[in-house]
Symmetry: C2
Subunit: 155 residues, 2 copies
């Protein structure tokens, strides 16, 4: 459990793919879908949502497609997941107007909310650039890369 949806996975994969091809002006949903063997129409819908939230820029017509709207370093995994799967709450009772229906019940939520923020923080600290396919040896040596990064968080 506590896993993210396939849609979010696909979204991350697509953005990663775009980050790896900065030279091309735009890639169609089908191009990316074919590269990973995922359903093209489904990916299209995901990319559309990412466009609506401003992470991608779309261009209709021939030779159209999608491109990152910012540098890959400036797009966090958190933004992608949030765009696709919606707000990220670890507590199952989404704190609406009044919190839980059962008034005094969710005394757990308070501490878990901090966990939630921590996880969000971790996700925010990872950019699409970090996911992109640089070869592992290089990734290991690079200071800014994953694998060397130290996260310090107050819980």
């Amino acid at each position: 459990m506590l896993k993210l949806t396939k849609k979010a996975d696909y979204g991350l994969m697509a953005l990663k793919y775009l980050a790896e091809h900065p030279e091309t002006p735009a890639l169609s949903a089908k191009d990316i879908a074919d590269a990973y063997g995922i359903p093209a129409q489904l990916l299209a819908k995901i990319l559309q949502r990412l466009t609506k939230t401003g992470l991608l820029r779309s261009h209709a017509g021939m030779n159209g497609g999608y491109a990152l709207s910012r540098d890959a370093r400036e797009i966090s995994a958190f933004e992608v997941i949030h765009s696709i799967d919606g707000p990220l709450f670890i507590t199952s009772c989404t704190k609406g107007a009044k919190g839980c229906d059962l008034t005094p019940s969710c005394t757990i939520k308070e501490p878990l909310a901090r966990v939630n923020e921590t996880i969000a923080g971790v996700l925010k600290s990872i950019s699409i650039y970090d996911l992109a396919d640089r070869d592992p040896a290089k990734a290991a040596e690079a200071g800014s890369s994953i694998g060397q990064r130290l996260v310090t968080l107050t819980l």
Copy 2:
């Protein structure tokens, strides 16, 4: 998304409740369910699973019920969630024998696996004791309490 199930929530609530009543030898599923207004039979099933994984000790018969098998400080939120919801994978493709079906597709999984470990680490660092209802003022001053804890993790 990325939220834990109600069952896991219920489980945490129940353990928290037990941690808050260390004087009583055992509490029945119904007692706890009533306290929080959650379905008794469902909670019973959850507690049974927690018993099977060794987090609780059960006692049938009159004045029976459930009790923590260890000190609340020794039970992590991670154990509870893992017992109820199963293995905790952020990647939607549960890495079975060969990983994804789409062979080269999940180059994302590798970095995300680290995120996964980080989250697990955070969850492991929180005990049922931390969730238990000590009054907020005290909790704020206590050194061992949540709110003051520093988590340092390599990503």
